[in-house]
Every structure is written in structure tokens, then in C-alpha cells.
Amino acid sequence: MQSKMKESDPILEVQNLFASTDNLPILKGVSMTVYPGEIHAIMGRNGCGKSTLSKIIAGHPSYNITKGNIKFSGENINSLEPEDRAQSGIFLGFQYPIEIPGVSNLEFLRVSTNARRKYLNKEELDTFDFEELVKEKLELVKMDHAFLSRSVNQGFSGGEKKRNEILQMALLQPKIAILDETDSGLDIDALRIVASGIKKISNAQTGIILITHYQRLLDEIEPDYVHVMADGQIIKTGGSDLALELEEKGYEWTDNLIKET
């Protein structure tokens, strides 16, 4: 495990988090802390609570926090609205980006970017200035300008949707980005584009949480920490070698770990 100097304050602290939806407990005491510049990976079987954790951090209204806290830059954000979280720098890259018919991607990106800029006391961008900015960011994910005039995610291929997510991340410049299975459904070229995009966007101030099933993303972006989740808990945390071990031994290994605990 790498050990970094923790000179700065954590960006994100998840403290003994319990959460449920429709009275069904999903998270059963999750804790993790992300410092600036760190890359965390969360792995685990389908249904272990990985996606739920990401949605709860972003403020999805379908889940209730029953116990524990989420702190962002030291502030408790348990009851903060999703848009306020986003404006203050939390970004969720969706596993399945939502299609919004009739709403132009360009306008969506601009409104979204301006919401974040407004929070940061930066000048809001008009259509022309925004076009300039977005052109530059399109390069990062090798997206064609034509994407901008289409409706948000509508008729996009799986790979295009994921690249659109990374484009949003590039525009919003979040303090923490949680990327939920951004690698799934990508061919190897698209994966490289997405991975290099993520690396270019992130910096020493950014925290990243990668939720993934596969080592191949972690080959492109090496995590500082790997957490293994099962049944709503983090059952093991290690360095990047933990992912390799998991790849080798499979999830049965984690099943046994649960039994041991």
C-alpha cells in the first residue's frame, strides 16, 4: 500500500453509513476517506451496494440515510440537495447515463457548467464563450462537435454516453468524481480514451472513486486504494495489488472473507 502524506484535509468522508430504500437496508456501515489527489477503486459483485453508495453520495432522493454521515470538505452533506452537491464539486459519472429527449446536449452542458461556475464565483459563460470552452474539452474525449446538437444522450451508443459523462466531468472540474462503471460497455480503444480523459482532468486537488468490476480500467488508471465491497460493507481495503489478487481469486474469495468475519 502506498502511503501519502496527508497534509491536507480530506475531500470526502463517509462515516459508518447505513442507508436503505423502501425500508430495505442496502448500506450497512460503510466508511471511507478520500484525500486530494487520491484515486480509490471500489470493487464487488453486482448488488453489493457500490452503485447505491455512489448515488447516495450524489444525493439521490430514493435512498434514506438511516445512520452515519457523509462529509464533503468537512461539512455534513447528508441533507443537501443533489444540485447543491454538484455545484460544490461532487460529480457522479452514471453507469447508465439518462436520455433526455428534446433537451440539446450543448444547452444542457452550458447550464450545468454555469451552475458550477456561479458557485465558484466565476463569470457565467454565454453561448459563444461556452462553445470555445467545450471545443477544447471535446478533444479530451475525442468527441465530435455533432454530439452537442443532439438531445442529451438520446440515441448515443454506450461508448458515446460514457464519453459524454467524462466531457461533463471535464467541464465541471469537480473536487471529487465518482465514476460508476464508466468502463463497462467500452471497447478497448474507447476505454483508453476515457481513461486518458480522466487522468488529464484530475490533478493533485481532485479525488477520484472508480467503481468497477474489471482490472482493465485499473491498468490504465492505477488506484492508490482498492476497497472490496460485499453485502453493503467494505470488507477489505488494500493497495492496487488487491485488485490483481481479486482478479486472480474471484469473488468467491471475498465470499469466504465475509464468512470469516
Partner: protein
């Protein structure tokens, strides 16, 4: 198109699940917004006695110094009306209208003859100013000519001289009766005959004022024409009559806006609009209807029973209706096209938004008579609150309509779980060599869509606004530029609180 045409009140969205919106208070929060045009102008008015009979009709005709043929037209219509029954087939429920309890003529007292705008009562000018329709020379809108109708009379029409240079006639229908009687006599009632329906008959008997437009042969009207209808009195009905004639190879874009004060009684509005397009002529008729809709409990509001029809008489003529219907307690309105001329084109683009206890039964009729006629229908219904929003449309292919084509698309958006949306498409074809296409969809704004936009920092209300705006895009794109902003504003006011 600006995104934020709707500003809605913030709801507690942590618990907000639009898909299963059970929390009634929430819906209420979301659907309440004061009506901004609800003021009453305090002005001395001349009203006739309540009630409807031959004497009243004669009195109206006398007041307007009408020729005999017009009085006969009115009296004939009245006789027909008396024998007719109020239609009950629409998906509407309302308390019976007492036609004897309505004042059929109400006009602000003014000097007998007004030669310039300077003589118009400043209170009236102020009223239209407040409505965003400045009429005075210094302030008037720069590229739109306006006919301002206040209760039963036309107050002013701007840009008349400029239009006259092009031979375009734009005036109140009362003036047209006086100055262009030949045209009135030739065309009035030829598209919507008095016997057409109950409300058309009523209008034909008692119509007070409205706009008249005549575009001569080969002329492209140099600016958009617009009428602004204002109901001010609580106890009088408004029965305006509009007639637009586009001669061969001419074209015009006409815009119509409507508002009314807030009264706890219902006011009847029964208008008739007739459009006539000759060979190669085109008429684009756009409406933003924002009559007072009543309060949250459904008290008050305008009963809007309107007959609008265009006749594509000439070859390759075109009539296009676009409407944004946001107001009225009851809307009963089917702007239609009679496609007689070979290769004539009819279009209907509609956004109808209802909330609280509003009811709208609206749509169109495309009657294909001539060969190779073409029609397009795009209808977007948005229902919120406890409202009922129905699309009702007829596409008819007559026996001579060979190679005629229709495309219809009817989409409904539901907001909350108390609102309802209906689609009643009627299709009749007597011509096997014609094509009719109909597509319909119903959607809800999903929680996932909302969350996606919110998780990008977009405020809840703006997220809804974006989606509603996106839903209406096909129709908004059809509105004239000048009007699009106006429509945006009106819909914004209406949706302010109506959705999110």
C-alpha cells in the same frame, strides 16, 4: 430557445418522487402561482342590459351602425342558435352557462370619434402598457402591428399608414364593416357558417369586435400583425370575430394574445376566427392564450369556446395554426383547415398546458378535399395538478383527395399522479389513394431524468423547465421569432409553480 422559460417553486425534492407523486401538498406547492395579468382597469364603461334576445342584437347592431345585411346575418344566426343544443361530447365538465346572465356589449366610454392615439383614454393605454403591449407612437413595438381589443371594442391599431402603403388592410372588424363592406359581405361566415356549431351561432349573433386583415395579391405583409384581446369586465362575455383574407400569392403572419382579470365568476369567451387563403397564399396564425384560469380550487376563470377555421381555397395555398394554450378554466378549441385547393397545405402545432382544475379539450380538424393536399398535426399536451387535457382531432380524406397525406403526432406529458391526458384521434377516409399516419405517446418526467440534471448542478425547477421546454420544442420552433419570446414568457408565468 432559452432554456429557462419556467421558474417553478422549489419543492422538497429529497422526498420528491414525480413518478408516484402522492404528496398532495407537494403537488400544490408545485402548481401554484399567482396570475400576473389579473388586475382590473377602473374605467367607466358603457354596458347594455344583461340577457340575450332580438332586441339586444338589434341594439348591438345599432350601436355599431351596421348595414342591414349584417343585422340580418345576426338575427338569422340567433334563430339558429335558439334551436341548437350546447355540445356535450367534449371531455369537459362545467356548471351550466346561463346565457341570460351575460352582458353582450361592454365598451370603455370614449370620445365618439378618435382620430389619433393621443385621444385614447390614458387608462386604456396604461392597461396595455402593463400587459407589455405598448401602443403609443414612442413606445410601440417596432416590428409588429397591433390591434388592441378591450372587452367589446378595438382601442387602437398601430402602423396602419405603413401597412396601407403596401395595400394591407389591418383594422378592427367594426371599421371594416364601415369601410370595406364588400369584403365583409363576401367572406363573413363563409368559413364558419353560423349554423356550424352552438358557439359559432352565438358569436355570429352577438359578435362585438375583433380584427380584420386583408392582404392584396402578391403582397408579403411587411411585418407581423397581432391582436391583443383583453377581457376587463367580469360580467360581460367577449365575442370577437376575426377575418383574414390572403389574396393570390400573398402571405401574412398573424399573432394573437389574450389575458383577463381574476374574477371568481366565470366569463364566457366565444370567438370565431375565419381565414381564407387563395392560390399560393399563406397564412400563419399563432396564438398564445393566457386567459385567467381560475384559482386552485377551480373558482372563476374563462370559459373559452372558440371556433377557428381556415379555408385553403386556392391551389398550393397554406394555412398554419400554432397555438400555446395555457389559460382558461375550460378550453374548447379546434383550429382547423379545409383543404380545398389542389396541393394546399394545412398545419397545426399546439402546446396545451393545464394545471389545477383546468380542463382543455383541444385539437384540430384537417379536412382534405382537394387532391395532393397535405396536413401536419403536432400536438403536445402537458397536464399537471388535477387537470384534464384532451387532444381531439379529425383527419378526413374526401373522395377526391387523391394522393393526400397527413401526419399526426400527439404527445402527452403528465406531471403528478392526479392529472389526466386523453387522445381522441378520429380518422375518416373515403380515398384509398391517400396516406394517414398517426403517432401518439404519453410520458412522465421521470425521477431519474430529474436526478440526472440535478446531479449536474441544475436546479430542480430549471430541470423541469428544460424537460418541458424540450418536450415542446417541435411546436416552439414553429412560432414566429417575435412571438417565441412572448410565448416563452407567458408559458413561464403559467408554469411558474405549475410543474415543479
Amino acid at each position: 430557445m432559452g432554456v429557462s422559460f419556467v421558474k417553478v417553486y422549489r419543492a422538497n425534492c429529497n422526498k420528491f418522487i414525480l413518478d408516484n407523486m402522492v404528496n398532495e401538498n407537494l403537488v400544490k406547492d408545485v402548481v401554484t402561482e399567482p396570475y400576473k395579468y389579473g388586475f382590473v382597469t377602473d374605467i367607466e364603461t358603457e354596458k347594455i342590459a344583461k340577457g340575450l334576445n332580438e332586441d339586444i342584437i338589434k341594439l348591438i347592431s345599432l350601436k355599431k351602425e351596421e348595414p342591414k345585411y349584417l343585422l340580418d346575418f345576426r338575427l338569422k344566426a340567433f334563430k339558429k342558435w335558439q334551436k341548437m343544443k350546447e355540445p356535450d361530447w367534449a371531455q369537459l365538465g362545467y356548471k351550466q352557462i346561463d346565457y341570460q346572465d351575460i352582458i353582450y356589449y361592454s365598451a370603455p366610454k370614449q370620445k365618439e370619434k378618435i382620430s389619433s392615439l393621443d385621444e385614447v383614454d390614458p387608462k386604456l393605454l396604461e392597461t396595455f402598457d402593463k400587459l407589455g403591449i405598448p401602443l403609443t407612437e414612442q413606445k410601440k413595438l417596432t416590428n409588429v402591428a397591433v390591434d388592441a381589443v378591450f372587452d367589446s371594442v378595438s382601442i387602437a391599431t398601430t402602423f396602419r399608414e405603413e401597412l396601407a402603403e403596401h395595400g394591407v388592410i389591418f383594422c378592427s372588424i367594426s371599421e371594416a364593416v364601415k369601410n370595406h363592406s364588400d369584403l365583409i359581405e363576401k367572406y363573413l361566415g363563409t368559413v364558419v357558417p353560423a349554423s356550424d356549431n352552438y358557439f359559432a351561432a352565438l358569436n355570429s349573433a352577438v359578435f362585438s369586435d375583433g380584427s380584420f386583415v386583408y392582404i392584396p395579391k402578391g403582397v408579403t405583409c411587411p411585418m407581423d400583425l397581432s391582436s391583443y384581446f383583453r377581457i376587463n369586465s367580469g360580467d360581460s362575455g367577449q365575442f370577437e370575430r376575426t377575418l383574414i383574407i390572403a389574396e393570390e400569392s400573398s402571405s401574412v403572419s398573424y399573432l394573437e394574445g389574450c389575458t383577463a382579470p381574476m374574477f371568481d365568476t366565470n366569463t364566457l369567451h366565444a370567438a370565431v376566427v375565419e381565414l381564407i387563403a387563395l392560390d399560393d397564399a399563406s397564412i400563419k396564425y399563432s396564438t398564445v392564450q393566457n386567459w385567467y384560469a381560475g384559482d386552485e380550487e377551480g373558482v372563476g376563470g374563462i370559459f373559452n369556446f372558440v371556433t377557428k377555421r381556415g379555408k385553403c381555397l386556392g391551389k398550393r395555398s397554406k394555412i398554419s395554426w400554432s397555438q400555446v394554450e395555457t389559460g382558461s378554466a375550460i378550453t374548447w378549441k379546434y383550429p382547423s383547415c379545409l383543404l380545398l385547393g389542389e396541393e394546399s397545405v394545412g398545419e397545426f402545432y399546439s402546446v396545451a398546458l393545464t394545471n389545477n382544475l383546468q380542463q382543455a379539450d383541444t385539437g384540430t380538424k384537417m379536412i382534405h378535399i382537394g387532391p395532393k393536399t397535405k396536413s401536419t398535426i403536432v400536438s403536445k399536451g402537458i397536464s399537471a395538478g388535477n387537470s384534464i387535457n384532451s387532444y381531439r382531432g379529425l383527419v378526413k380524406m374526401g373522395s377526391k383527395a387523391t394522393g393526400a397525406r397527413n401526419y399526426s403526432q400527439c404527445d402527452s406529458m403528465l406531471i403528478g399522479d392526479q392529472a389526466s391526458a386523453n387522445t381522441f384521434p378520429y380518422i375518416k377516409s373515403q380515398q384509398p389513394n391517400s396516406e394517414i399516419e398517426h403517432e401518439a405517446s404519453t410520458c412522465r418526467i421521470s425521477e431519474d431524468q430529474l436526478f440526472y440534471l440535478q446531479s449536474r448542478g441544475i436546479e430542480f425547477e430549471e430541470a423541469i423547465s428544460m424537460m418541458v421546454s424540450g418536450f415542446c420544442r417541435d411546436v416552439f420552433n414553429q412560432l414566429p421569432m417575435e412571438f417565441a419570446a412572448e410565448a416563452d414568457k407567458l408559458l413561464a408565468l403559467k408554469l411558474e409553480g405549475s410543474v415543479g
